[in-house]
Amino acid sequence: MMIQLVTTAQGVEQAEALMMAGSDRIYIGEATYGLRHKGDWSLEAVREVTAIAHRYGKEVTVAVNNLMHNHQIETLPDYLAALKSIGVDSVTAGDPGAIRLIRNANIPYWYDAQTLVTSARHIQFWGKRDAIGAIAAREVTLTELGLIQQQIGLPVEVQVYGPTCIHHSKRPLLTNYFNEIGRPSDGAQKREYYISEPSDAASRYPVYEDENGTHVFSEDLTLMGQLPVLLKGGLHTWKLEGWHAGDAFVDIVRLFDKARSDLLNGRFDRHVMERRFAELQPERFRLGTGLLLRNPEEIK
């Protein structure tokens, strides 16, 4: 039984460390065509990390999951040709125009339309159009994810660690806010900002601005305690997002790698693993399970 650990990476060096720690697939990208990846992932860096990954028998997926506007779609064929010649293993994509070009370029793709990927039939639509797997919306509950995976042959990726995007605006909302309160806005893309919801002062949702607009993330999700459920439900593609985990990310991935082998050997101890995991999690980010453990009926 293959369980695949998919991890983001913020540079070639970290990518290599992550592979050593158990990552099977490195997920990277840059802001023209992909959404929300840290690090400088120029084609040169993609080439370098792909060579390393292939040497270790690992894979590289490049994000092409942006909502493309005309100017991006116009240059996308060249970018895809470059990825093809580098030999990246797959891309992610959710924009139907981008998918059209990806299919023309003959590159395997994971369907990733973010918040919209919520049913088996939706995924099958893209399966019939050559998708090799799908990234489920993080708003789909574990119960529903099991139902979806049961019905389809394609792998459905589940996020087991890190924050996920819960709001994407094309507007520069941080810059606008800083202008409104009369604070210089040149730092809008450099520092880390968080918002708290009105009814929960302790909540911290990361907010981030780049050329694609503004992105609000959830709190850090973790499914360490639910890995046996994923295994049983046939959900074998596990994504870890290292957005703000910093140096701890490699250790977190290593722990999930150990959890995987423990599970397969029948030695998984939920309480021990959850405790060890909590020790690695950066203190300032609260852990949660988002909507994953909710009863689908609770969400109106």
């Binding site: 909502l67 493309m68 506007h69 005309n70 991006q72 779609i73 924009d95 139907p96 125009g97 981008a98 059209r100 973010q114 918040t115 919209l116 919520t118 049913s119 088996a120 039939r121 939706h122 099958q124 639509f125 993080r138 708003e139 789909v140 529903e144 139902l147 979806i148 819960i166 709001h167 994407h168 605006s169 094309k170 507007r171 520069p172 909302l173 606008n176 806010y177 409104e180 309160i181 520092r191 880390e192 900002y193 968080y194 918002i195 708290s196 919801e197 009105p198 009814s199 002062a201 911290r204 907010v207 503004t214 959830s218 203190e283 988002g290 909507l291 909710r294 689908p296 969400i299 109106k300």
Partner: protein, 417 residues
């Protein structure tokens, strides 16, 4: 003479559907009992749909049904039958965003045209090409697309394009916001949006230690609340760009809103298309639009990326609000008496405004007010009561009488897409 784009209006119920068409809409969009995103809008049963279609088709207008829910497991059950019913009723198209729903419609209800909803965020010409090849007739563009991008799309692909010209807007890419799911357990993509974007948030900045509050509590909190869209001054640009359908948002909005906004856009579109070279923008059109405005108005992404001026911060500016006071049932030219159905309280001596299709409008005082039996009364204070008012200029059935009400401000209304 220019090719006239379709004016497409929202219709939350049968009465709004009729008024929208009477006030100039070429087409309306409505919701069915299932599969829509407006669980709280008055949605149409099959019989009401049939009545709406008969009314519309008799006047050369079209009726579209929004079925733009992003379905989860189980939600799609019955969709095939639903689409077949709509087709057989004579619905002119459905507006869908979920590929699973699109597939069901195309395979199980062939002959029913499909429009891609703005929820699917179509932002480039290849995406238009993709959906056209799949068999869709029209694409409702994402509201993040600029005028220049629309022109390029029209050069590249020969598929119908619909864009929003008026109403409330998501500040996110439509469909790409689940703040409401995470913070209120209400699914934004299945009709439950709690409008979390318009909340006031605490704002923090990370430093080397931990997160410290950056903005003091008495300063402006962080918010993501967009002003509304109004393209009333830019209809010529939209016509020249080749947009096929101009859409007004707001199935939750009032009859007064729908009639006012349709009336204005009908005037502007006709004025420009009848005589593009002689077109002059009449400031009265904009003045009229403000009578139905609920927030500040701006042009979205058509001419650039919106700044802080297109967001709501601080104390909102007061915008005078107008209430739907009565609807004209009939008019007797010999006595100059209009028979009215009351919709909001009004009294003798109050200043009111009558308006009707074709941008007819005039202001007067309510001098003579009678009840149904012809007795003089001071106030019309019962909902739906029939009264008669002496009018200074001729009116006709379905004219609206509005009155200015106590000032309200930029209050959120649950109406965005």
């Amino acid at each position: 003479m220019k090719k006239r784009p379709e004016l497409l209006a929202p219709a939350g119920n049968l009465e709004k559907l009729k008024m929208a068409i009477l006030y100039g809409a070429d087409a309306v969009f409505i919701g069915g009992q299932q599969f829509g995103l407006r669980s709280r809008a008055g949605n149409f049963g099959y019989d009401e749909m049939a009545e709406g279609v008969a009314f519309a088709h008799a006047r050369g207008a079209k009726v579209y049904v929004a079925a733009n829910m992003v379905t989860h497991e189980g939600d799609i059950e019955g969709a095939g039958e639903f689409f077949c019913q709509l087709r057989d009723i004579g619905i002119d198209a459905v507006i869908v965003s979920d590929p699973a729903m699109i597939e069901v419609c195309l395979t199980e209800a062939p002959g029913l045209p499909v429009h891609l909803s703005t929820q699917a965020s179509a932002t480039n010409y290849e995406t238009l090409r993709f959906w056209q090849e799949e068999g869709l007739e029209r694409i409702v563009l994402a509201r993040e697309v600029s005028m220049e991008e629309i022109k390029e799309m029209k050069r590249q692909v020969d598929v119908e394009i619909e864009t929003f010209v008026h109403g409330a807007m998501c500040i996110s890419y439509s469909g790409r916001c689940t703040l409401s799911n995470h913070m209120a357990l209400r699914d934004a993509n299945r009709g439950g949006c709690a409008q979390s974007c318009r909340w006031k948030y605490g704002f923090f900045e990370a430093d080397e230690l931990l997160s410290d509050e950056m903005v003091a509590r008495d300063e402006e909190p962080f918010s993501m609340s967009s002003v509304d869209l109004a393209m009333v001054r830019h209809i010529p640009d939209l016509v020249e760009a080749g947009v096929d359908s101009l859409k007004i948002e707001g199935r939750m909005k009032s009859i007064h809103y729908v009639a006012t906004v349709c009336n204005v856009y009908r005037q502007v579109i006709d004025a420009y298309c009848d005589d593009p070279d002689g077109f002059v923008f009449d400031p009265a059109w904009e003045e009229e639009i403000w009578k139905a405005a609920q927030r500040e108005l701006a042009t979205g992404f058509y001419y650039g990326v919106p700044t802080e001026n297109e967001q709501l911060f601080g104390k909102p500016r007061v915008i005078p609000q107008y209430a739907f006071a009565a609807r004209v049932i009939s008019y007797d030219a010999s006595t100059q008496l209009a028979t009215l159905e009351q919709r909001n309280h009004f009294r003798r001596g109050e200043e009111v405004e009558f308006f009707g299709p074709g941008f007819v409008r005039f202001t007067q005082k309510v001098d003579e007010l009678y009840d149904e039996m012809g007795a003089v009364i001071e106030t019309a204070n019962q909902a739906m009561m029939t009264v008669r008012v002496k009018v200074e200029q001729p009116v006709a059935t379905d004219f609206i009488m509005r009155k200015r009400k106590a000032c309200a401000v930029n209050t959120p209304v649950p109406s965005q897409v």
